[in-house]
Symmetry: C2
C-alpha cells in the first residue's frame, strides 16, 4: 500500500507541475532532490518556480522519509512503535496576479509500526483556497469539486471536512480565516484501503479544482492598488504559517528540509500598520468573507 | 516604584521619537493611544513611522496594563498572586537603507501581587542589533555602549547578558542568530531599586548605542542588489519573531494589541528559495558572522 501511494504522489507531482508549466510560457520548475538528515532517512523531490509570468512563487514537493522516532516526537503522535514512515505531496502556489487565488494542498500516508499492518497506517490531507481578492464563483467552483469527491465516500462527509478545514486554517488573534477553506482530514478511523482510494481521488482532483481559476484570473488586468492589497494579504498568510500551522512547526522542529517547508511563504510581502480596506470596497468584502465562514455549495 | 518607571518609559518614548524625527526630514511618527480589552485593563501609546526617508518602518510603543491573571497564564509565570501589572517600552526600527542596521530594544517592569511589595516585582529588557549588511565597527560601537552600562552594575555582568542575548535571538532551524546581539536580561535576582536604576540607565543609553549608526549609514549609497539582500534578510527577522519570540507569542495569545505587537515586522520582505550569498561577498561575510557569535568588545 505504501509503495503504491508513493508512486502515486510522484506521478501526481509530474502531472501537476506539467500542467502548471503549460500555463507559464517559458517559466519552468526547478528541481532539487534531497535526502534526510539525522534520524530521518529517505528524502524527497522539491520542484519550485519563482518569478514566473503566472506563478510568482510555487512549490510542489514530494517526500518519503522514515526512521526510528526520537522520544519527544514519539510521545506526541498516535501509536506506540518506534518505526515511522511518512510520505506525501505538498504544494503551495502564489500567483502573480492579485485576482488569482493562492492555493495549498497536501496528501499524505503515515505509518507507525510495520507497514504491512493496516492498523498502523493513517492518512491526512486536504486542499484550501486563499483568494487575495474574493470572487464568489471561484470559491463555489473550488468547493464543488471537493464536495463531488467526498460525496462518493460516506465516511468522508463534505460538511465535516469543510468545517474541519475552516477550523484548522484560522488565525485566532485576528479572528479571521486564512482563506475560504476547502477540505481537511486527519487520523480518520476508516479502512486504509478506502482512505488510500479517497486520497488518490482527492489528489487527482486538484487540477480540476484549481487550474480553471488560475487560467481565468491570470489574464485579468489589475491595478497597483490590487497588487498592494495582495502583498498585504500575503502578510496574513505568513502569520498563519509561522505562528499556527502544525505542519510547519512539526517540520521545523523535527529537522525537516527547511527550504522545502518554507516554500509555502509568499514571494513578496508587505506589512502595514493597522491597515483597513476602504468601507464598501471589494477588499473589504474579501475581509468580511474571511471573518464569517460561508456555505459555498 | 511602578509609577516612576512608567513616567520614565513615557519620557523615554518622547526622547527617542523626537531624536528619530530630527533625522527623518518631514516624516513624522503617527500616534495611537489604546486601552486594553478582556482581562487586561490599562493601555498604551503606540508611535509608528512608515515609508519615511530614513525609517522604512519603525515603532516605539509604551504600554502599562494590569488585571487578574487567567488560569493558563498564571500557571506559566513566576509568582503566585492573581494581581498582575506590566509596563514597558518596546521599539523596533527598520531603516530604508540596507547599510543601516535594524534594531530592537525593550525595557519592562512586571509585578505579580502588591506593587508596594518589592518581592513581587521583576524587570526584563535588552537591546539587540540586526545588521542587514554587517559593519564590524558598528557592532563594536553598539556593544561597547551596553558594556559601559553593565560595568557599573556588578550584578549585571556584560558577558552574561551578551551570551543570554545571543541565546535568545537564535533560529535553531537555521543555526543562525537573528543579528549580532547586544544584551538581554529577565527575572534577575537583584534588589528592585538596583534593577530599576539599571533599567533607566540602559533605556537612556539606547540613542547613544544606535543613533550614530543610523546617521552614518543612512547617507550611504546602495545598489539594487543591496536592497534585494536586505529584503531577503528581513525574511529571517519575520521567521524569528513569529516562530520563536516569546514576547510576540505571549502578546498574541494573551489578547495584546495585535498591531502594536506586530509593528516589529519589516515593511517589505522577500522570500527566495534556497538563496545563498555569493562566496567571498560581503553578504556571505554577514551570514558567517550570524552563524558564529563573536566577541565585539
Amino acid at each position: 500500500m505504501f509503495e503504491s501511494l508513493v508512486k502515486f504522489f510522484y506521478d501526481l507531482q509530474d502531472q501537476i507541475t506539467g500542467a502548471l508549466e503549460q500555463e507559464s510560457g517559458s517559466s519552468k520548475f526547478h528541481e532539487d532532490t534531497w535526502t534526510g538528515e539525522g534520524w530521518l532517512a529517505g528524502g524527497g523531490r522539491t520542484r519550485v518556480m519563482e518569478s514566473g509570468t503566472v506563478l510568482e512563487r510555487g512549490g510542489v514537493n514530494v517526500s518519503d522519509v522514515h526512521g526510528l522516532l526520537p522520544d519527544d516526537l514519539a510521545r506526541n503522535m498516535p501509536g506506540k512503535a518506534r518505526e515511522f514512515r511518512a510520505a506525501g505531496i505538498s504544494l503551495v502556489l502564489h500567483p502573480l496576479n492579485p485576482h488569482a487565488p493562492t492555493v495549498h494542498a497536501n496528501f499524505r500516508i503515515i505509518s507507525r509500526g510495520k507497514q504491512e499492518d493496516p492498523e498502523t497506517i493513517w492518512f491526512g490531507g486536504g486542499a484550501d483556497l486563499t483568494p487575495m481578492i474574493l470572487y464568489e464563483e471561484d470559491a463555489t467552483h473550488f468547493h464543488s469539486i471537493w464536495k463531488k469527491v467526498c460525496d462518493r465516500y460516506p465516511s468522508m462527509p463534505y460538511t465535516k471536512l469543510k468545517e474541519d478545514c475552516d477550523r484548522y486554517f484560522y488565525l485566532p488573534h485576528r479572528k479571521e480565516g486564512r482563506g475560504i477553506g476547502g477540505i481537511f482530514y486527519d487520523y480518520v478511523d476508516t479502512a486504509p484501503e478506502v482512505m488510500g482510494q479517497f486520497t488518490r481521488e482527492a489528489g487527482s482532483s486538484f487540477l480540476d479544482a484549481y487550474l480553471p481559476l488560475l487560467k481565468k484570473r491570470s489574464s485579468q488586468s489589475y491595478t497597483e492598488e490590487d497588487r498592494e492589497f495582495q502583498m498585504w494579504r500575503r502578510g496574513r498568510y505568513v502569520e498563519f504559517n509561522l505562528v499556527y500551522d502544525r505542519g510547519t512547526q512539526f517540520g521545523l522542529k523535527t529537522g525537516g528540509r527547511i527550504e522545502s517547508i518554507l516554500m509555502s511563504l509568499p514571494p513578496i510581502v508587505r506589512y502595514k500598520y493597522d491597515y483597513r480596506p476602504a468601507p464598501g470596497s471589494r477588499y473589504e468584502a474579501t475581509m468580511q468573507a474571511l471573518s464569517n465562514p460561508r456555505t459555498w455549495v
